[in-house]
Symmetry: C2
Subunit: 510 residues, 2 copies
Amino acid sequence: MLEKVDLSKKMSKEEYKEKMSQLETRIGFLQRECKALKIPVMIVFEGFGAAGKGLQIGRLIQSMDPRGFQVYPIKNETEEERMHPFMWRFWTKTPEKGRIAIYDGSWYRRVLIDRFEKRTKEKELPEAFHSINSFEEQLTDGGTVIIKLFLDISKKEQKKRFEKLQRNKETAWRVTQGDLERNAKYDEYAAMMEDMLFKTDTDYAPWTIVEATDRRFATVKIYTTVIKAMADQIEKLSVQAEKKAGTEAGQSCGNVSQVAQEADRELRELQVSILSKADLTLKYTREEYDGKLEKLQKKMEKLHGELYRRRIPVVLGFEGWDAGGKGGAIKRLTAKMDARGYTVNPTASPNDIEKAHHYLWRFWRAMPKAGHVAIFDRTWYGRVMVERIEGFCTKEEWQRAYKEINDMEKDLYDAGAIVIKFWMHIDKDEQERRFKERQQNPEKQWKITDEDWRNREKWEQYEDAVNEMLLRTSTDYAPWVVVEGNDKYYARVKVLKTVVDAIEERLKEK
Amino acid sequence: MLEKVDLSKKMSKEEYKEKMSQLETRIGFLQRECKALKIPVMIVFEGFGAAGKGLQIGRLIQSMDPRGFQVYPIKNETEEERMHPFMWRFWTKTPEKGRIAIYDGSWYRRVLIDRFEKRTKEKELPEAFHSINSFEEQLTDGGTVIIKLFLDISKKEQKKRFEKLQRNKETAWRVTQGDLERNAKYDEYAAMMEDMLFKTDTDYAPWTIVEATDRRFATVKIYTTVIKAMADQIEKLSVQAEKKAGTEAGQSCGNVSQVAQEADRELRELQVSILSKADLTLKYTREEYDGKLEKLQKKMEKLHGELYRRRIPVVLGFEGWDAGGKGGAIKRLTAKMDARGYTVNPTASPNDIEKAHHYLWRFWRAMPKAGHVAIFDRTWYGRVMVERIEGFCTKEEWQRAYKEINDMEKDLYDAGAIVIKFWMHIDKDEQERRFKERQQNPEKQWKITDEDWRNREKWEQYEDAVNEMLLRTSTDYAPWVVVEGNDKYYARVKVLKTVVDAIEERLKEK
């Protein structure tokens, strides 16, 4: 999750001011609604040291009625707390109905800082994660809203902030030896955070990553996230109550519903745009291409044999814009591979038998044997793209799918497989150029249909869906690779090189 | 779970015949309904060797339309299967919509026989359990019904069956070396099964323990369980469909709903009655009582100091029939304990502040510090008894509570606590005698209210709830102890002795 986060996100002073005045009013309004509806709210702040947790909490509570919330700084345990079961201090700090509890640090310290400093042993981790998830599930089942914010900054930014604090006599004390050590071992600590995010990003209490380099951007994202979560719960309860009473959605619910929708749109705008970061000017000349391609294909041929001998299965998924170059890349990838050792699985709309099963069933069936390579031309990610956008599945279904897919890929990885997913990326102009070229070329006309043009009209919707997908399903065990595809030569070489590198890496490991 | 199972359950031939004719018709009817509604059904048979899985599967399919189901014997992996990720063979064997798949052995082998024979390493277990739960959650979220049956027999019964098979030339081959080894190490294997049941008894795919000593009893329980699960899902879908269509529950749903209710009642009758096994004639003379009590109280005094020095927390929960002797037992237990080292928490109806929190909150707050003893006179189990029966919480809430409570007690245990729960058991006549005595005794009149008499009228309802509670929440880390309480002397000594033994056991460990 973390490696796809765009930490360069910023917001101008003007934009910030404009947004904030509205957000502040809304949070006050929602706090009153939550109180009236007796909804307890828990807001968790976690993240890297010096990411600004304290500052952001201060900023958040400015717009709240102080009689309705409480802030809990969670530091080392007190004597009293150490004498009790770990979760005791958090159970006793759960908010009453209608109140808001804000945690600066939280029960996650057990799987973060306590793990890093080896106070939590590795063998205790399964129990610790189980305990955390069951705590959150019990509370949300009981009607509590849990909002979990993860403030993210880079190693460099963190170092800069620590140095700034140290330079000033009045703030130097705030930087501890532990802070500096975690900065030095940033990658190691980040891996633990990644593991934590994977294991606790549940449907009842999901994480929101807050890009915290720019404080204004972070504040707006935090406000909007809190607003969205509160409004959603209010709406849910109001709808339930009205269903029971047999009446139509009332005025107040209408307001809340509007707030929720606006927050949703706002969040999408604030969303990490992974795609927009791709540099589509990257390219190779014909000579560069020919040279690299030949070398890589030869390597691939050799590695393919090695995979077979070492019984390592490989799963490669290809997704991308229509005319993004999936077919061409797959063709070059497999050019010198032994045909007995790989399969290309084209994924079309499910047939009747496939429809009669779970949507993952047909993909499970096609998973490779040990030593074999399975290539998917379009994949199980259809669930969170076309099925989501065209309404072929319900909102609950595609939202659930991120976790289902992560779990499936984890199963494959645990069974020894190399798993990589490629997003073949081109821009809208390049797509138009390719569509037209196809229409004019009699040999390629079959490749272009009315549906392609229709899909193109939904470019922005797809872009949102793809960004969310990349963020939520790029894992260290099954990463997404965005392939800059405006230049076909560049794209094909990148795909081949990524696969070759991953295999070489794995062969080194074992 | 397993230690509370009553393996002496039996059924006469006559009763069996009478029940079966109806059950067979019903299962045929429900199979057709599931087909029409396109509900996929998975039925898993697990349990001890020679418990009769094959025989019961044969019996179950007799009443089914053979075009609608498939039986999968799950033995050692084939070459093809071994070359794929572990779950691949099960994903590819999931049933189509409207069909039934029956598994003789299943994906649980990875955490049972494969674990026992060390093919699954201990450090792989968290992933294996995660993978199993997520497989079942994904399928049930997609509309599949998963019915998991665990066939239970005792070590002795298993040995008897193996010997019988071995005596006959034609069946001797069926008993493998592995079978005999697992019988020899029955307790070790049973502990793995217990662990498996704890970790995979989810709300979306719960386990049913089938007492399999008597084959007729087992067959009836299996049929009834399958009928209940199928009928529930059909009803759920029909109600949803009718809600959508805006119509009233139709004829077919009415039938199914009736079948579901009857199966429910039937299952309750078949339920393990843990309470009925208690021998209420147990008693001590005054002399025996005095002698034992003094000795145990002295021990307790000494152990209490030792607990304090070793910083071991103790949680003791007391539940039982009104006038069951909770108060008296607690008084004798604490008689010689240092008052600074224990608290007795009487649990009444929740006050306003308590009501404004999660139902477990007030109990978490009262959990003991390391080295202290917390005694609860009535406990968090109110959720699955009085709140269930009086309708103070919803069905979803009390059903969810078993897992929530198990999780809480696991947290306490993981933090080093000794956790024991007592059910103070008396029979209905003894209760009446005590009620009347209280009414006639001016000093005890305050102890008896109209509510006590009202609760008494719901004795049978409570009995069902208590049996279910004892079965589902007695764990090896937090066992239930049924205290035979008709004789107060016997009951008080048993409570004291249980606590003393548990503490001595723990002190030996560390």
